[in-house]
């Protein structure tokens, strides 16, 4: 006689260490198998989009820091590009190169955090996470030399960046660029060939590419399914059309593919920084003509940028005043989260957090 069983519903979060912030999943299990997931978010809602309507464009830069707080530089960049398009500001070349260097460093830092916490969720007890935090620390120290802050940078301004890099930044960046490829090799030795990681990740949470496209998923998640979609290449912003880089792709679209795409993207980012260093020239970092208080003409603008997590864009509507009439953020974390139910159903309890970690979300950006 079989045992009589019934589904059990568990609330995971909002105060759970593996949900990467205040995120709540109401999961229904049949034994150990997930049969239903209901994501509940909004615990970190701070009303950034509404707050932006009462602040000037320079002041909103501080709000964008706090949206995706592990990738502040790319958030800054996306907002600044939208403001420049709205007000027709032509940025200084040196400022643009500095912004690209900062954004690519931030991409490496964000991928390090994503991979480290993904492996932490997998149960690696911290070793890869601590290794990756060590390199992230180096990047944050570079940011501190650049702009005096480590997380909430507020580095970029309409027209360029607020100040040129100090003299001691360049040797430190060279040391980092020389050191980092060995570190990535170290991660690959540690994780990529590991049989336990392979068994736990291969073929888990597979989503076919058409579903991903239909759900407008972007970023490493989409590239892990074999779709060559990178906005740096498809709609080049800044000077990304002047640098050469590959788009690492994987075809399996499982958790391991999402991990390996991020590892390879870090190498490409290092290559982009090296090309930026070759092409950067002395000069002003922002045009003198850009005032502190910007009054763009009435109109709207949207620039999609490739943030570490996917397509990030700010839709700004101006009525000619000092503050935007409306600010809407296309947050990749939120949109990549929409397929969570499809990814998790049929998986085991132990794969729940691994899959969740492989999406790489940031609750500050999901809830804004």
């Amino acid at each position: 006689m079989p045992l009589k069983t019934e589904p059990i519903t568990i609330n995971v979060g909002p105060q759970h260490p593996s949900t990467h912030g205040v995120f709540r999943m109401r999961v229904t299990f049949d034994g150990e198998e997930v049969i239903d997931v209901e994501p509940i978010f909004g615990y970190l809602h701070r009303g950034s989009e509404k707050l932006a309507e009462s602040r000037t464009y320079t002041q909103i830069v501080t709000l964008t820091d706090r949206m995706d707080y592990v990738a502040s530089m790319t958030s800054n960049l996306s907002f600044i590009l939208s403001v420049e398009k709205l007000s027709g500001i032509d940025p200084s070349p040196r400022g643009v190169w500095l912004r690209m260097i900062a954004a690519e460093l931030q991409r490496i830092a964000s991928h390090l955090v994503a991979t480290g916490f993904f492996l932490q969720d997998l149960g690696t007890l911290g070793t890869p996470l601590i290794y990756m935090m060590r390199e992230r620390e180096t990047i944050l120290e570079l940011f501190e030399r650049l702009c005096g802050a480590r997380i909430t940078n507020s580095y970029m301004r309409p027209g360029g960046v607020f100040m040129d890099a100090p003299d001691d930044f360049w040797p430190a960046l060279d040391r980092f660029l020389a050191d980092m490829p060995h570190r990535i090799d170290e991660y690959e030795d540690l994780i990529s060939g590991n049989e336990i990681v392979a068994v736990r990740c291969d073929g888990v949470a597979v989503v076919d590419s058409q579903t991903l496209i239909d759900a407008s998923i972007t970023g490493p998640m989409l590239r892990a399914s074999g779709i060559d979609w990178d906005l740096r290449n498809r709609q080049p912003y800044e000077y990304y059309d002047r640098v050469k880089f590959n788009r690492p792709l994987a075809t399996a679209s499982d958790n391991y593919a999402r991990y390996i795409v991020r590892i390879h993207e870090m190498r490409e980012s290092l290559g982009i920084i090296k090309q930026c260093l070759e092409q950067i020239e002395p000069g002003p970092v922002r045009p003198e003509s850009v005032p502190f208080l910007i009054r763009p003409p009435a109109g709207d603008s949207y620039v999609g940028t490739e943030s570490p997590k996917g397509e990030l864009g700010f839709y700004l509507v101006s009525d000619g005043g000092v503050a935007p009439y409306r600010c809407k953020v296309r947050a990749p974390s939120l949109i990549n989260l929409t397929l969570l139910r499809e990814m998790l159903i049929g998986d085991k309890l132990a794969d729940l957090f691994v899959t969740f970690g492989s999406i790489d979300i940031n609750m500050g950006e999901v809830d804004r």
């Binding site: 501080t62 060590r134 620390e137 120290e141 702009c147 909430t152 994780i191 990529s192 590991n194 049989e195």
Partner: protein, 230 residues
Amino acid sequence: MIYGFGLAKGMGVTLKALVGPSFTVQYPDRRVGIMGAAKAAGISTPSLLFKHPIKALRAVLGFEHIAVMPTQSSRFRGNDFTWYEDRCTGCASCAKYCPLGIIKIVTLPGGINMQEGESYAIETFDIDTGRCMFCALCVEACPYDALHMGSEFERSNYVRMDLVLTKEDLIAAPKHPSTWFRPQMEEAGYSPFAEALEDMKKAGRHETPTVDELTQTWVKDRRTDEVVED
């Protein structure tokens, strides 16, 4: 591929890290051996043994600690502000550009600081650092380089009201301005950790503004702009 080869390779990486250099940063103090204790005291190891035998014994047993200075960039936006009263004209640009509105300035006519051709006394200059997010937009907005970010970061308190930096606090505080948005200080090679910058003339892009400069840059420009034709 032999099963288990990847595991062994990963174990090799961790073993290498076990014998490699340590990346841990010790703060606020770190443990030193007998040679480190002698170096910190500025004497040779044998003289430490003879002159301070108890200290040497503590160092051998691993109880001796020396203070570690924080390593931070000179642009570091600390938990603190540096303010030069003589440079400040009370124009309240910083209060206006603060995204949170936490700077409170009250001025009185008839003081020593010049604004729009008249002399003002700054009665209140409060910064509520309990709500501050240290974005440094106030520092960027200051036209006379009177307000700078500080380099201090150990500012924990038991009372929330102590987080409000008043005018008296700012005057009494040691002046270690950060070089954030102050290129003239970087050009001069100033480091906030080496020495204090008490001289307000060295802190700015130029000397204290004169009455002529102020009337030229502020009053005259503004008056021609604000002529309203009916």
